[in-house]
Amino acid sequence: MIHEFKKVWKPYTIGMLWLLGLLWPLMGIHADGTLTFQKTVTVWSYILAGSLVCLMIYVMKTSGSLKFITGPVTRVTGGARSATTALPSWVWIVLLLGVALVYPQFAGRYGTDVAINVMLYICLGLGINVVVGLAGMLDLGYIAFYGVGAYTYALLNVTYGLAFWVCLPFAALFACLAGCIVGYPTLRMRGDYLAIVTLGFGEIIRIILNNWMSLTNGPNGILGIKPIGIYIPIFENGLTFEHIWVKKLQLFYYFALGLAIFAAIAVRRLNYSRVGRAWESIREDETAAELMGVNTFIYKLLAYAMGAAFAGLAGAFFAARMKFVSPESFTFLESAMVLCMVVLGGMGSIPGIILGVIALIALPEVFRELQSYRMLVFGATMVIMMLFRPSGLIPAKRVGTRSEEKEG
């Protein structure tokens, strides 16, 4: 353990001193011409204490001094893992679904509200997963398609009075079209450029929503969107249908749950299809994929359009639930948040994304008083995940075997 500690103490000390030097000018120099040190040192020592604990745990874990704790824990988790693999996966899915179905009966209004948010973000996360996780393209303007979906439903509903179920395909279609318009010129380039161009496109769509007063009512947004309407059968004197609005949150929750389940099934089917294989080959090596006869441009465009369509669906549900849309909801930070969920959970892994969304939506609700630290933690999470566990909390299972594994 001493040996391991010797290896890390030097960069750690330098790093902490660096942080102190970074914090002091921001916190210790005041406009009235005074210099203070106390506040900076206080904040810094909190960070120091916290990171020192993490460092000690890390060192003890790598050196094996924690065997007396990790031993039993790995035995338990190993046992749990063998139990999970022994049980067929449908048992887990049924359990999860059961919990999801009865959840609103126990949770209050607030809890249901959070759960609806979780469902919408699962759909968004699964959609961006098609682009980032399966096809390996970084898309930073993703939330714009969510906006396109939301505005499609809002405008069609408010101006033409079309019902939700009529607008839903249009929301997906328009988001898909927007995806193609963005994707067509940008997908010829690789990686880094694509990221920043999609970022630019996301901003363009937001600026247009903000400034096209005659269509979108600008920053004031669109009010008076109708909720989902459904017909329920009534069996008094013959069969008649009664039309009701889904205004109750608990009822809406089930529709959002349906959306999330639909997205999960669709993404799974896509992943294991021929198209999914093509995406995966593009992600691993684009040149090789092209040589094997994969039309990379078409498949990348398809991934982009598919991802956008999921966002469009989620957007329509969002508009129906809030009954109000404005460009404020579709900023870059939302894109970054969805991306962070996918990165945390594991790119390409459906259970991982569900876990990531729950972690990043539900946890901030629990720690409400730390709300202002939320984005700071998101940013740090992305860096830390990339440094220590790039495949996420629940890594994706690979389809087939790779050549190295076979040889080894």
Binding site: P25, G191, E203, I208, L339, M386
Partner: protein, 304 residues
């Protein structure tokens, strides 16, 4: 015509700032082929530290007795601070991932960018930080329409000095030669005893220093800075770097000037509300029709 000349002057001022930010992108890209998403945050941090330093000097009353020294001092402090910040960020978030996939480095850079801007928000507050406005109130008037403020002259001349200095550093000194060698071939340059780690740190430091200078100029010009102000100028400066040919220093300067002009003329003649869109449209058009940019050499597939 007078309106045109006035817009031209404003465009050069803004373009100079974009050129300074774009240099950071292009130099880092030239050396390690990475788009440094956190670069816009260096620009914002520079603006903040400049504001803090100026306020400190003003609070002590040095501002009235020695304004030039205070201003120079603030620029120095902000540039040194951002260089220091950038070197650390590179060591923490980029260096360990150099061997990983491109996606991992991009995501790490993006996370760092979010982290830095929110860190600034938490330490400095969510509201605009105001620059002392009594600086450089004067201006020259030519005719009825054309005015050049002292501030604009200061910004343009300082930008010119920095750009010339950078050019001298990169093309005339031994360090510059080492940087160019590392950018061309990392293995080969390490064989002739150039430490690529040190050169990469140096590149980050220089790029961030230039961005910090631009941050102070931006704060002086617009009167205030905000924690998330690095985002949009960052993308525009990236557009400038791509327009000039990414990896090419002269190209970034020209690209920055062009983007600044386009934004000002677009806002003046077409629509002020859509002024942010023009830079993006240029970026997309350049990438679509001539991805190597104006001055760029041919980029093979592995670098794009």
């Amino acid at each position: 015509m007078e309106y045109f000349i006035q817009q031209l002057i404003n465009g050069i001022t803004l373009g100079g700032m974009y050129a300074l930010i774009a240099l950071g992108y292009t130099m880092v890209y030239g050396v390690i082929q990475l788009i440094n998403f956190a670069h816009g945050e260096f620009f914002a941090a520079g603006g903040y530290v400049g504001a803090i330093a100026l306020a400190y000097f003003a609070g002590n009353g040095y501002m009235d007795s020695h304004p030039i020294i205070c201003l120079t001092g603030s620029f120095m402090i902000a540039m040194a601070y951002c260089a220091y910040l950038a070197v650390g960020v590179e060591k923490i978030a980029y260096k360990p991932l150099r061997k990983n996939s491109r996606l991992a480095v991009l995501l790490s850079a993006l996370g760092m960018s979010i982290f830095l801007s929110n860190g600034m928000m938490l330490t400095q507050g969510v509201y605009d930080k105001v620059y002392p406005s009594e600086l450089f109130q004067g201006r020259f008037d030519f005719g009825d329409m054309i005015t050049i403020s002292y501030l604009q002259i200061l910004i343009v001349s300082l930008t010119a000095v920095l750009l010339v200095g950078l050019n001298l550093l990169v093309f005339k000194t031994k360090i510059g030669m080492a940087m160019r060698a590392t950018a061309q071939d990392k293995t080969m340059s390490s064989l002739v005893a150039i430490s690529s780690n040190r050169i990469i740190s140096l590149t980050f430091a220089i790029g961030a220093g230039l961005a910090a200078a631009a941050g102070i100029m931006y704060g002086l010009y617009y009167g205030s800075v905000k924690y998330d102000m690095g985002f949009v100028p960052g993308i525009k400066a990236f557009a400038a770097a791509v327009l000039g040919g990414i990896g090419n220093i002269t190209g970034a300067m020209i690209g920055g000037l062009i983007i600044g002009m386009v934004e000002i003329f677009g806002a003046g003649y077409i629509s002020g509300e859509y002024k942010d869109v023009f830079a993006f449209i240029i970026l997309i058009a350049v990438l679509y029709f001539k991805p190597t940019g104006i001055m760029g050499e041919n980029i093979d597939d592995t670098r794009v």
